[in-house]
């Protein structure tokens, strides 16, 4: 019986000829990623080893990545103390894939991992962050776990009791229309699948639309696969993956792509015609509450956010900068831009995107998670409305349970910032 990509990856990581959905495995882990919550992983790791007589060292420090991104620079002394504790652990254990609060090498974990070449096709990657699904964009099997489970991975080098997920095949054909991007495609899919339609499953992406899509767009798709409940999303590695790895991520070694078998077994196949898609918006307070932008056009917005691990990449900033260049953000709207990494920040600076934002009245912030999870800059006031290129609009997500968050693409966000209201970018602002 043929295998899907994830089945092949898990078979290899578990030393088996073949596996099928439902099998329970203990795959070895190629990369174990944490962000600030490494502070909790460290204390749980300590709990595991206490009294065992074993040294308190992770199985392989070179396979651990720690990136500060959620609350950078620290917003409170509590966070700063957590950061300090993690730094000490990093130094004591010789963890080199560590990204501190820096303008050059810092950024959001889900951008740092791919851009630094830490992610390779065929790997098993776990992260203490639900959007670890992002790394499926490079053909790895990557999924989110909790801090205690990560502590167990640090101790053993393997993930315990991993049930092989069934795979949903998504086939996307045709060209995306102007002002319609990967974000609209994944919102469309989440709307169809619902917030739990892919629970305990993997979404495998195929079709000529995906083959033509740059890695940045694939990261957007896989990033939000978890919003349909998926264990992960995955794009089988291809020429574009190889281009990205060698040209952008600096990977020089031999890379082995993993493709699904022709007779692989899928639980479901979903077909999408890209040319029929339109700009979409996920309305409060669930990500699957997806509507065409025209259905909510005219809704006044207090804050527009462009950035995050979903849409804070150079392509996203280019799209938005092109729309706002030479124009002005509506006086009642605050526009906040936060690039996904220091490297992207620097490139956007060189290309003039940041100048376009600042001159239009936007505030450009340091690379990091920014307002996405409501603990840092850019909190919302009571009754306020935000339109954001991030990935979640749950009640209270941006720090205030009495506010509303809409999700959209960079094109919709930029056009709407100019108009001060949700706007279809195809119609343009003013």
């Amino acid at each position: 019986m043929g295998m899907t990509v994830v089945e092949k990856i898990l078979a290899r990581a578990s030393g088996r000829e073949s596996v099928k959905a439902g099998d329970v495995l203990e795959p070895r882990v190629d990369l174990a990623m944490s962000h600030e919550n490494a502070a909790l992983v460290i204390s749980q790791f300590h709990e595991i080893l206490k009294g065992t007589g074993l040294p308190e060292r992770p199985w392989d420090p070179s396979r651990i990545a720690i990136i500060f991104d959620h609350r950078v620079p620290a917003e409170s002394s509590k966070t700063a103390t957590n950061h300090k504790k993690v730094r000490q652990f990093v130094a004591a254990n010789g963890i080199t894939r560590f990204h501190d609060v820096r303008g050059d090498t810092g950024g959001i974990c889900h951008q740092i991992l791919p851009e630094r070449g830490y992610v390779l096709p065929g790997q098993v990657i776990v992260g203490t962050d639900s959007h670890t699904t992002s790394h499926g964009a490079l053909g790895a099997f990557a999924f989110g776990i909790g801090a205690t489970e990560m502590a167990s991975v640090w101790a053993l080098g393997a993930a315990l009791n991993v049930e092989v997920p069934a795979t949903i095949r998504v086939e996307v054909k045709g060209r995306l229309p102007r002002h319609v991007g990967p974000k609209d495609l994944i919102l469309h899919l989440i709307g169809r699948l619902t917030a739990q339609g892919a629970n305990f499953r993997v979404i495998e992406f195929h079709g000529d639309t995906i083959r033509r899509m740059p890695t940045s767009g694939r990261l957007t798709l896989c990033n939000m696969a978890v919003e349909a409940g998926a264990t992960s999303g995955i794009v089988p590695a291809d020429d574009e993956t190889m281009r990205y790895l060698s040209d952008e991520a600096g990977v020089t070694g031999l890379v082995e792509p993993v493709a699904p078998d022709d007779d692989a077994v899928y639980v479901d196949t979903i077909r999408v015609t890209a040319s029929k898609l339109e700009p979409l918006v996920a309305c409060p307070h669930t990500v699957d509450n997806v509507k065409p932008v025209s259905a909510v056009a005219g809704t006044l917005v207090d804050q527009v956010v462009i950035g995050s691990c979903t849409n804070g990449r150079l392509d996203d900033l280019a799209t938005a900068a092109k729309i706002v260049k030479g124009k002005t953000v509506a006086p009642w709207t605050r526009m906040l831009v936060f690039p996904a990494s220091g490297r992207i920040y620097a490139e956007a600076l060189t290309k003039g995107y940041l100048a376009a934002f600042v001159n239009a009245g936007a505030v450009v912030m340091n690379a990091g998670c920014g307002p996405c999870l409501g603990v840092h800059e850019g909190a919302l006031g009571d009754g306020e409305v935000a339109l954001s290129t991030t990935n979640r609009n749950f009640q209270g997500r941006m720090g205030n349970p009495n506010s509303q968050v809409y999700l959209c693409s960079p094109a919709v966000a930029a056009a709407s910032a100019l108009a001060g209201a949700i706007t279809d970018p195809r119609k343009g602002a003013r």
């Binding site: 919550n37 595991i48 080893l49 909790g146 205690t148 502590a151 629970n199 999870l373 409501g374 749950f394």
Partner: protein, 164 residues
């Protein structure tokens, strides 16, 4: 007999269970104060210890969707709540298995605040309405972690076996 103290719908997210702004608090001993903190009344009852151990939160499908934050699990575990729902999101389910928060998966489960329940291994009986709901058991691999008392003792045991 366990009683339902809170009734919620589908897709209850980890942002509702444990808002992101308290994520700098990580230790299981400190997280329970922020459980459901945006639901001010329920949070106040929890903090005032007005909610007995074993009390039930009744919910629909996909409880615990969203983030991997383990605080969502440790905060509820701190109050020894039991969650009876039609279904759970994957990471939340795994975190609860790992930390020993009691979850009962009973598809179609319905109850109101104040209902009394019988929680049996294979079924949930709502004594107040007389309706019963079959329970979907945990897969054996996850049950093994629960039986070991959580992931920390389970991992320790594996480490000891490897050393031997």
């Amino acid at each position: 007999m366990p009683r339902v103290v809170l009734k919620l719908g589908d897709d209850v997210s980890t942002d509702v269970i444990y808002p992101g702004r308290f994520m700098a608090t990580v230790l299981p001993a400190e997280t329970p104060q922020y459980a459901f903190s945006d639901m001010t009344e329920f949070n106040a009852d929890l903090r005032a210890k007005q909610v007995p151990h074993g009390a039930v939160i009744a919910a629909g499908r996909n409880f615990g969707c969203g983030s991997s934050r383990e605080q969502a699990t440790s905060a509820l575990k701190g109050h020894e709540l039991t969650i009876v729902a039609s279904g759970f999101a994957r990471i939340f389910l795994q975190n609860s298995v790992n930390l020993g928060l009691r979850l009962v998966c009973a598809p179609g489960f319905e109850a109101s605040v104040g209902d009394e329940l019988d929680l049996e291994p294979s079924r949930v009986l709502n004594r107040s309405t007389g309706r019963e709901f079959p329970v979907v058991p945990l897969p054996p691999a996850r049950q093994a972690i629960v039986d070991a008392g959580g992931l920390i003792p389970y991992t320790r045991r594996l480490l000891a076996e490897r050393k031997a």
